[in-house]
């Protein structure tokens, strides 16, 4: 036979037992063409553009799922950063402009619901060089928007390696995250917002995905995952296998799952008649048993994730995943690497409970993982300046190292460090991490720009 039975059974095992899946197919839609000076036209155009572009997404994704025998978990849409789209329709009257923002968010929410789309990302702005009036309106509307909609996700970029970090924006985000956490949907609302440094324009994952201005009118990006598959591959090796052997094994596995993702992504793009963009190969854990990045790190020989050696183990994992993916496809993009969303990964959350995984260690891990502080729950009374300082630290790691870093932090009202919070569903649950009580106020209130590194000026 052209394929051996073992090869076919390996694929079936990856899907059935090790939860290999296409984590998301994300349709990017350019909304600039929906922009209009008249608010009522703008709302109508946005609704129409999203609906027209995405109407076949879910149906076609189901068809492809059955054709290839690999599940597609989420169907999502990203849009042009909304601040750029609404700008011409803003009146200058803040209250009126907040209302327009909320109306647009609700329209997007309803459209997503109607089309059975899980999340719609891009309700945000790029602020690394300064906050435009539209950026301010969007950011200041977020507490209301994220608390009053279910499927709208937001991002704010506060820095790049080229421009430095806009500390005014960082301070603002500290305040906004705190305000979000006081709303009726609190925790879940904060989980739909990501603050970035060096945000990428083709990220298919949520909550931080958006459709960049450098993108075509519409594009399909794919996010594949498979922590379980990588764990199984490591388990197949002898207990005393060397790190080179482990790296090679992870690369082979990453290669296979990337090729699967690319095949499916291209077919889906073709079937809905849009360009294929990128594959984001990120090991994204879920709350399901065996689908954990923390568990892979422990399999490498750490008693509990978060202990000394964790950053090194994560470096091996992230790098091998990237290399395997890069050999498999020329269209690797997005974030690609390993996600460490604490609440969504039971092994990580348990390590917090055991007092082994701290916020400081997580920060160190983010200097080499693919994103940043992700789904990190902290006490609700965390000072806004402390939230801003956490964002500033994370952004600085990204800016200096020319990588994407992000913060998705969730202050949980009326809870203290060590308490458990259950977010429900895909968002999982987590023990609250302890933040330092020593203040960062004076540093944060200096505002201004944190200058870009000298390596940012290559030209």
């Amino acid at each position: 036979m052209q394929y051996s039975v073992n090869e076919i059974l390996e694929t079936i095992q990856m899907v059935k037992l090790d939860k290999l899946d296409i984590r998301t197919v994300t349709l990017g839609i350019n909304l600039l063409k929906a922009s209009d000076k008249k608010p009522e036209n703008l709302v109508k155009n946005i609704q129409k553009t999203v609906y027209q572009n995405a109407k076949n997404l879910v149906k076609q994704a189901h068809e492809i799922e059955e054709q290839y025998g690999i599940p597609i978990i989420n169907k999502r849409v990203t849009i042009t950063p909304i601040a750029a789209v609404i700008s011409p329709a803003l009146s200058g009257n803040k209250e009126r402009d907040y209302r327009l923002c909320l109306k647009i968010a609700k329209t997007l929410d309803q459209t997503a619901q109607k089309l059975n789309i899980d999340f719609i990302g891009g309700f945000g702005c790029l602020t690394e060089n300064g906050l435009s009036y539209a950026d301010q309106i969007v950011i200041e509307s977020l507490p209301q928007i994220l608390n009053q909609t279910q499927r709208v996700c937001s991002f704010v970029n506060v820095g790049t390696s080229r421009s430095g970090i806009n500390m005014r924006s960082v301070v603002k985000m500290g305040n906004i995250i705190h305000k979000i956490s006081l709303g009726k949907n609190r925790a879940i609302a904060a989980a739909k917002l990501v603050v970035f440094c060096n945000a990428v324009t083709d990220n298919p994952f949520m909550a931080g995905g958006f459709h960049g201005l450098d993108q075509p009118d519409s594009v399909i990006n794919i996010g594949i995952s498979g922590p379980g598959v990588v764990r199984r591959a490591i388990e197949k090796l002898p207990q005393d296998a060397g790190l080179d052997e482990i790296a090679a094994q992870i690369k082979k596995t990453a290669f296979k799952i990337t090729r699967a993702g690319e095949t499916i992504g291209r077919e889906l793009a073709k079937s809905i008649g849009v360009q294929f963009g990128i594959i984001d190969l990120s090991l994204a854990p879920t709350t399901q048993k065996g689908d954990s990045v923390g568990e892979i790190l422990e399999k490498l020989g750490l008693e509990t994730v978060g202990t000394h050696g964790t950053t090194a183990a994560l470096a091996l994992l992230t790098d091998s995943v990237k290399k395997g993916g890069l050999m498999a496809s020329s269209n690797i993009g997005g974030l690609s690497g390993a996600f460490i969303p604490v609440a969504e990964d039971k092994v990580l959350s348990d390590a917090v409970k055991k007092n082994v995984l701290s916020l400081d260690k997580l920060e160190a891990m983010t200097s080499i993982c693919s994103v940043g502080l992700d789904m990190v729950a902290v006490p609700g009374n965390t000072k806004t300046t402390t939230l801003a300082a956490i964002i500033a630290d994370e952004a600085a790691i990204g800016m200096i190292n020319h990588k994407t870093t992000a913060v998705r932090i969730i202050p949980v009202k009326n809870k203290k460090a060590g308490d458990y919070v259950n977010f429900g569903g895909l968002l999982g649950g987590s023990y609250l991490l302890k933040t330092h009580s020593a203040k960062s106020d004076q540093f944060i209130w200096r505002k201004g720009t944190l200058p870009a590194p000298i390596t940012g000026f290559k030209n």
């Binding site: 036979m1 052209q2 394929y3 039975v5 090869e7 076919i8 059974l9 390996e10 694929t11 079936i12 068809e63 492809i64 059955e66 054709q67 290839y68 025998g69 690999i70 296979k256 799952i257 090729r259 699967a260 690319e262 095949t263 499916i264 077919e267």
Partner: protein
């Protein structure tokens, strides 16, 4: 290398061995004018495993439709049936 225009699928049937599994799966192929190109069957510890490479190039039925048909049969013969478009197996296991 697989020829570009071929539309082929790989069907895997796994379950407890009993009379007529191959016959019933083959019957679905015959009814839909699908040619079986290759077939491999083994029994390990009473577990029956069959892998079939079938050609759908000449038929209007899509691989997804075939998958739905076999899904129905799967309950009847009490076996797991997996259907994959050949392209995915080729992408994952061939350079």
């Amino acid at each position: 290398m697989q020829k570009k225009k071929k539309k082929r699928a790989i069907i895997t049937v796994i379950g407890r061995d009993k009379v007529g599994i191959i016959a019933q799966v083959s019957q679905v192929m015959a009814e839909n004018n699908i040619n079986i190109e290759e077939l491999n069957q083994t029994i390990i510890k009473k577990i029956f495993t069959m892998v079939m490479l079938v050609d759908l190039t000449q038929v209007s039925l899509s691989v997804a439709e075939l998958s739905r048909k076999l899904n129905k049969l799967s309950g009847k013969i009490n076996c797991e049936i997996h259907v994959h478009d050949e392209k995915i197996i080729n992408a994952m296991h061939r350079l």
